[in-house]
Amino acid sequence: GAAPSGTAQLDSVDWLSRFGYLPSPDPVTGQLQTQEALTRAIRAMQRFGGLKETGIFDQDTLLLMGTPRCSLPDVPEGSTGRSRR
């Protein structure tokens, strides 16, 4: 997906990490995220934002990501990724 234009120098992946939808980048692989994880994160963000869950950075999603907001994450750290059974 394209980086949202309204998020002031943050690309969309960084945005998803920043607000808790993607786990922090792997220290070995750097910023690489799997497409599956990215799609899941976009869907979670869309669900939380009340948007249609498309799993892609569509126009409504980018618009919401450009909306002024609180700095705190929507999904607190540690609650993303696989959970121990």
């Binding site: 909306t67 609180c70 705190l72 609650s79």
Partner: protein, 444 residues
Amino acid sequence: ALMPQSKWNKRHLSWRVRTFPKDSALLGHDTVRALMHYALKVWSDIAPLNFHEVAGSDADIQIDFTKADHEDGYPFDGPGGTVAHAFFPGEKFSAGDTHFDDDEAWTFRSPDADGVDLFAVAVHEFGHAIGLIHTSAVESIMRPYYQGPVGDPLKYHLTYEDKVRVWQLYGVRDSVSHTDRPGVPPPTEPPVLGDVPNNRSTLPMARDAPDRCSSHFDAVAQIRGEAFFFKGKYFWRLTREKHLVSLRPAQIHRFWRGLPPSLDGVDAVYERAADHKIVFFKGSRYWLFKDNIMEEGYPRPISDFGLPLDGVDAAFVWLHNHKTYFFRERRYWRYDEQLRQMDPGYPKASALWKGLPPDLDDAMSWSDGSSYFFKGREYWRVPGSAVEAEPGFPRLTSTDWLLCSQMQADSPDPEAPDAAATTGDTRRQPDRAHDGYEVCSCTS
């Protein structure tokens, strides 16, 4: 719940605006403080929390307007983007602290396009400061996205879902019905304006109103960082910057609600360090106030403090040790607010406080760290942890605190005709502009 819920273990929380918006012509300091007051009140109206503005640096909720990277792990990003954040309750030193991006165009009662409504964002952030996390509910104030102004701060009410979430943390405030549902108006509109501090009388100054420039004062106190000078049924109020709020004294009974109408003055007043409640002394009795509303069950005898029933001249909290000191004639006592008892070994001779006179009118601590003692028309300053008045004191209270020149009086002698009015001789008319002062009375 997405995370272990954090909440404050105490119910009395202090707050302070440490830094203000730098470039906002619209939002003065008093307006910002008022908006913070009302944003916190949104939560304390429904949950058993009590917020008190304080002057010191150890407030539970420190409020800052800052920008860019301010070294808390949440850098701001200029206009738009992230606009504010707050720290959840917990063990961290920063718990409760609330930061607003100073690069935003903060507004109040302005159209949405003009900027970001400070009150709406503050209500959201204070939700975090008391332990609430983000929610996806569209109507919730805890939705992470800024949704525009929320209307008049005096009339704003949380959605039912927001109320339930804060009730889950702290329970329901006694005066609130948790069965009130959305769409069902409350039986009576809460007296929102009733809590607004109002020291402005709409009536002409009464004939018995004292002259601040020739008075000595019954009591003096620092309350919420501001100075209050009491005389008879009136008081004057100075902001924390020592600006006189009004040249006119306000009537005690119009501001401090619950004092008996027959009370014609007070002996001593102080703000308790532990819970920021305010204690008024008169003779053998005392009254306890939460903000400017009297608590139930008062007056009570001052023997509750372990004081003799003949009264109190002065009461203040010494910043050096946070103990409360009571003075009466030539003796003083030291009281421990935590233990709710007098410290052993008291009373002692007030002469131990070198340079101070006996039979004080009252005393208070001030934000400069000094303690101030008042008697007659004079006052003494005792710096920091010292127990001796500074050289150069006493000085005149009226000139240093009440904006009087040495010869000035508030009003002409009522017995004498106004020479300026009758003869046109303006040279005899006191002109405060000539003193270099212009004093305005205003509210936020």
